[in-house]
């Protein structure tokens, strides 16, 4: 299943004034795996993704993607290289679902004049339609994205990220705020992305059943530290993990 490391985080620390969000976190993500990151609220999961995608600049540590040091690279360059992430609170702009998805085309096709051709319009269109089918948003294709409920917005974001066909997809709580049915759908999409499309996935999730079903490997965070790493059955026996979840 899993191959060589595609993404490596080495000793990354991040502070906001007095608040320490990450304390020397290291981890590596293997090509083709689903790695789950779990931990209590405020343990630094989102901050870690923000460092990997470039939205936050860590005070120390390095991040390597496909062997390249991306620590100082601007966000859009990392996306061009093949990273992609969704947000805990999805971001859609006032426009149709279709428009919100097809915009992802510009990431790997940034040439200004190329982007203005009919060919580009048609290619983006074809790809967006495929992805709308994939995330099962056909009935909402022309709906205004900002008027959709949370569950559907999360699918819009996922499809948008898939527009540039990233190798590593980071999903920040893709199932939070979703109904049981919607959660099942989301789990199905993630599984298909991994098993059929061969995507490497970093999954942040509070829903333990989903983590148990999907993740090949799990990392547990607490107060900005990585406190455990392993298979589901391993980490659920770990004393530090139990302490973090049940409170000291």
């Amino acid at each position: 299943m899993s191959g060589l490391p595609i993404l490596e985080v080495k000793d990354v620390s991040l502070r906001f004034g007095g608040v320490v969000a990450l304390r020397s976190v290291s981890l590596s993500v293997n090509k083709g795996e689903i790695l789950a990151i779990v931990g209590p609220n405020g343990s630094g999961k989102t901050s870690l993704l923000n460092c990997i995608c470039g939205f936050y600049k860590p005070q120390s540590g390095r991040i390597f993607f496909k062997g390249v040091d991306i620590t100082r690279m601007p966000i859009h360059k990392r996306m061009e290289m093949g990273l992609g992430r969704t947000l805990q609170t999805p971001y859609v702009f006032p426009g149709t679902v279709y428009e919100n998805i097809m915009v992802g085309y510009v990431v790997r096709n940034g040439g200004i004049f190329r982007n203005l051709t009919y060919g580009a319009v048609e290619e983006a269109r074809r790809r967006a339609e495929e992805l709308i089918d994939f995330v099962e948003l056909e009935p909402y294709r022309d709906a205004i994205a900002t008027e959709l409920p949370m569950g559907l917005r999360k699918r819009v974001e996922l499809a948008r990220v898939l527009m540039w066909d990233p190798e590593v997809i980071m999903l920040d709580e893709p199932a939070s705020g979703l109904s049981l049915d919607e959660r099942r759908d989301m789990a199905r999409f993630i599984l298909e992305l991994n098993e059929v499309w061969g995507k490497t996935i970093i999954l942040i999730e509070h829903e333990m059943n989903m983590v148990k079903d999907l993740a090949h490997r799990i990392i547990v965070m607490d107060s900005g530290r990585k406190i455990a790493e392993g298979l589901f059955k391993e980490i659920t026996r770990d004393a530090r993990v139990l302490a973090a979840y049940l409170g000291e």
Binding site: C53, F55, P74, I75, H76, M79, E80, G84, R85, L87, Y91, F93, P94, G95, E99, N100, M102, V103, G104, Y105, V106, V107, N109, G110, I112, N115, L116, Y118, A120, V121, E122, A124, R125, R126, E129, D133, E138, P139, E157, R160, V161, W164
Partner: protein, 349 residues
């Protein structure tokens, strides 16, 4: 894909065309029939009024796109000035270039100027932009005044439109203007539906969030500014050809405000073509109407004296507020309602 029955398109592109239904085509044809025959029955006054509408529609299209990118600018008039002054330089001896070269070149020159002034704007957005572009407006006005400081009245001239020695009359110029407005309208509508056009709208909301999805705010703000400059420059050159001369006074701060407040916001942000055209019609109708009213008032009540001109701004504000209270997303949304009505007609439930 689920689609309404009876709608069949052979390619994705056709499906995305601007004309989706027969009545869109009918509406468009009626509009063109009206505009292309207008000079034949309307007098000089209305012909030149419509030329003015074409001119400002073009400039406002670019401003509308810039506004959709979350960038508010009140320097459009000054940039039109740059376009008009460039047209003067290119159309007069020694260059004496023909109008069909002068107009695009004026657009490109203004695009370059707008891009330079955009540099500090790339890192800010929203209402902070109003302060910055106010400075841009006055800086450009000052430069235009400086260029013409030895000319009485600061006037520059634009050579008459002509082809092979044949000088165009008002009606011929009208058709040139109609053609330019049509081309520029088509272009901006096309830009609007490309992925690049969507990226511009995406940075308009939360630019930092757009960045996480790989859409660089800096890059797309710069592109929006370039397009804005191009459209303002072409509009400015059109202005120059219509009037035959230009002075910095024509391109004042108030005009910039009217273009943003009425041309774009009353018209409808994001509706690059129809919103801009509607906004322009309202802008010109109000300013013509108020000018006439105010001059009548100052005849009837001479004691008003120069304060009559203050009335202009007040009336302007009242009318705009009224329109925006009735239609908060601008007149383009009214147009969408009409379109929707006909789309569903006769089953409008």
């Amino acid at each position: 894909m689920s689609r309404p029955s009876g709608v069949f398109k052979e390619s994705y592109l056709a499906d995305m065309g601007f004309i989706q239904k027969r009545f869109h085509l009918v509406g468009l044809l009626l509009l063109f029939a009206f505009l292309s025959t207008l000079p034949l029955y309307a007098g000089d006054f209305y012909t030149s009024l419509f030329m003015l509408i074409f001119t400002f529609s073009v400039a406002i299209m670019g401003l509308n796109l810039l506004t959709a990118a979350g960038l508010f600018s009140v320097s459009t008039a000054a940039l039109m000035g740059v376009g008009a002054f460039t047209a003067s330089f290119l159309s007069q001896p020694p260059l004496s270039l023909p109008f069909f070269i002068v107009i695009p070149l004026s657009g490109i020159a203004t695009m370059a100027v707008a891009s330079v002034f955009a540099l500090p704007a790339l890192r800010i957005k929203g209402y902070y932009m109003l302060f910055l572009t106010t400075a841009t407006q006055f800086t450009i006005e000052w430069i235009l005044n400086y260029i013409t400081k030895n000319v009485p009245g600061s006037v520059v001239y634009i050579a008459p439109m002509s082809i092979l020695g044949h000088e165009f009359g008002m009606i011929e110029k009208y058709y040139v203007f109609l053609a330019i407005a049509t081309i520029m309208g088509y272009l901006i509508a096309h830009i609007g539906r490309t992925p690049l056009g969507k990226a511009i709208v995406m940075i308009g909301e939360k630019d930092y969030a757009a960045h996480i999805f790989g859409v660089s705010p800096l890059k797309y703000k710069a592109i929006a500014f370039a397009i804005y400059g191009l459209y303002a420059g072409v509009g400015g050159a059109m202005w120059g050809y219509q009037i035959g001369l230009a002075t910095p006074e024509h391109f004042g701060f108030m005009l910039s405000w009217e273009m943003l407040g009425v041309g774009v916001i009353v018209g409808g942000v994001g509706s690059y073509v129809w919103g801009s055209c509607l906004g322009t019609v309202v802008m010109i109708a109000i300013s013509q109407g108020i000018t006439i009213m105010v001059s009548r008032l100052s005849v009837m009540m001479p004691w008003l004296g120069p304060t009559a001109f203050g009335l202009r701004a007040i009336l302007y504000g009242v009318i705009i507020a009224g329109i925006l209270i009735a239609e908060p997303h601008g007149l383009a949304s009214l147009l969408r309602k009409v379109k929707r009505f006909f789309d569903l007609f006769p089953f409008s439930y």
